[in-house]
């Protein structure tokens, strides 16, 4: 318990520092976990309490993702989004998977690393777009919708991974039944739900908390993935009053998700025989693969490499979803790789996002200067 309180206190200080420096806090939380935990000082141990809190953090992260899924208002031009989304999926996941497999990971491990390569951190990407005042860039809208696209891919991957070796038809039927119940509740109980949310006592916040935990435990009871059901719950409730649910779920998400990150760091163990070169190669590739996919998307959608550079600069950071994958499906070694991946990409990503505009300007003026220098030579001859 003392360790838990130390972790909480350290996080609070780190949150202040990261806000002051305006860089994302996620890498700091993981680093704090690594320093305090198994791989570092060993002050904080993962126990039942911390596991429970981490689990709640994960559930609320997924619930929030579900709340944000408003499929009815997808981009005006869905084919553009689809092209960009598929380029990212194939390039990033392909590079991550191939590299990990060649470095000696098993097929399953390589797949998880591939997905972690692909899924960027929605939280970091969106916050940096706002903080760096880039919302009006023509690429910004595409980047924002790409995050939604990635969420959908992630849902499909979670569904695939959790189906595993079970009886597929029965499993599928149970999921459909679960989704049906959630739909019926949110459709026919809409007025009741809204009337609860409108109250200004503790009921809305209690209801939100209970809804997420009840859905998760019922899902486990019936042998269907709780992760999937919590996302579905979010998506179903998004049809009633998503803003109110977000407001009531936010405190839980904020606190428990930080715990989730820290205790992910705590459980990292460098002693598990990890090749540091392999980790370094994967981290570099993670930055590089987004450059390739960003460039391809920029050229395909805007016909401009500069747009691609901008997309790259704003989508380097991997974060919460990569970690969630590591926790849900990864082995200890995969966990270490993804921890390093998240720390390196978020730091590089926040730096690139901040300076991409000046970088862009530098490239443009450089090529202009080159053109000016070249012209007199050509005309002289």
């Amino acid at each position: 318990m003392e360790g838990f309180i130390i972790a909480l206190f350290v996080c609070m200080v780190l949150a202040l520092i990261s806000k002051y420096l305006s860089i994302p806090a996620i890498p700091f939380y993981i680093l704090a976990g690594i320093v305090l935990g198994k791989a570092g000082l060993g002050i904080v141990q993962s126990d039942e309490i911390s596991q429970f809190f981490s689990e709640i953090g994960l559930l609320f992260l997924l619930f929030f993702m579900g709340l944000g899924l408003k499929l009815d208002q997808m981009l005006a031009d869905p084919s553009k989004l689809l092209t960009a989304g598929i380029i990212g999926l194939v390039v990033d996941m392909g590079i991550g998977f191939t590299a990990a497999y060649l470095l000696g990971f098993s097929l399953m491990e390589a797949f998880i690393i591939g997905v972690a390569f692909y899924i960027t951190s929605t939280a970091i990407v969106i916050t940096t777009l706002i903080e760096n005042r880039k919302l009006m860039m023509k690429e910004a809208e595409l980047i924002i919708w790409l995050e939604v696209f990635e969420d959908i891919v992630l849902i499909i991957i979670i569904a695939l991974l959790s189906s595993g070796d079970k009886d597929l038809l029965f499993f599928f039927l149970k999921i459909v039944l679960g989704l049906g119940i959630l739909y019926v509740i949110s459709h026919y109980g809409k007025e009741f739900l809204v009337s609860i949310l409108d109250r200004d006592d503790e009921t809305p916040i209690l209801f939100t908390f209970a809804a997420v935990l009840t859905t998760a435990s019922l899902a486990i009871l019936f042998g269907i993935p709780d992760t999937l059901m919590v996302i579905a719950l979010g998506a179903a409730l998004a049809t009633t009053d998503p803003d109110a649910f977000e407001q009531h779920a936010r405190p839980f998400k904020d606190v428990f998700l930080v715990m989730f990150f820290v205790f992910f760091g705590v459980t990292i163990d460098f002693a598990s025989g990890m090749d540091l070169y392999a980790i370094a190669i994967l981290c570099l590739l993670a930055v590089f693969s987004k450059l390739i996919s960003g460039m391809l998307i920029g050229l395909a959608i805007y016909g401009s490499a500069l747009s691609g550079l901008e997309i790259w600069a704003n989508t380097i950071s991997r974060g919460e979803f990569s970690i969630a994958l590591a926790v849900l499906y990864g082995s200890a070694v995969v966990g270490t790789v993804i921890a390093a991946l998240v720390i390196v990409t978020t730091l590089v990503g926040s730096f690139m996002a901040k300076y991409s505009t000046s970088m862009r300007r530098g490239i443009v003026s450089h090529s202009r200067r080159k053109a000016l220098v070249h012209r007199p030579h050509n005309s002289g001859r």
């Binding site: 944000g68 899924l69 408003k70 208002q73 929605t122 969106i126 777009l129 706002i130 005042r133 919302l135 009006m136 860039m137 809208e141 924002i144 919708w145 995050e147 939604v148 505009t357 300007r361």
Partner: protein
Amino acid sequence: MALRSQNLPGVGTKYEFKTDKGDTVAIFFTRTGTIQMYTLQKGCKTPSAAEMTPVEARRLGNILTGAIIEADQESVEVAFSALADLRVTIHTFYIPKAIIGKTIEDLQIRAKTGATVIAVSRHDHNIINPSPSFVFEDGDAVLVIGESDQIKKFESEIMVE
């Protein structure tokens, strides 16, 4: 002028319009509670941005609707579209030395200008709906309501040094 609004997941609401001269203005009400305004001049590639708190954004809105805001005096014009476009202006003034010690009745404010004093801010407290026998003191700030013409009249006839 074509205005389009859009919900961006995780970000908030976006309003964008192009002026007749080809400049673009975009406003984002973000989830974090701040409001970002971007302006992009025709032919320019990089927009300039300003981030505002809700209070600042409201002030900017007042300026843009054409209300006069001087230093500490502000004016808000409210239009009620449901009531046949009823327009009401509310304006604050710091009273001049000339009317200290006089009452609202003495000054014949409503008879002369048509505007009504609805509140007075004195030091740290407010007097709502002051009676005709209300006496102005040094440092009072008044809140006046009326049509914009009535407010102008109030400014030129009562608020004179």
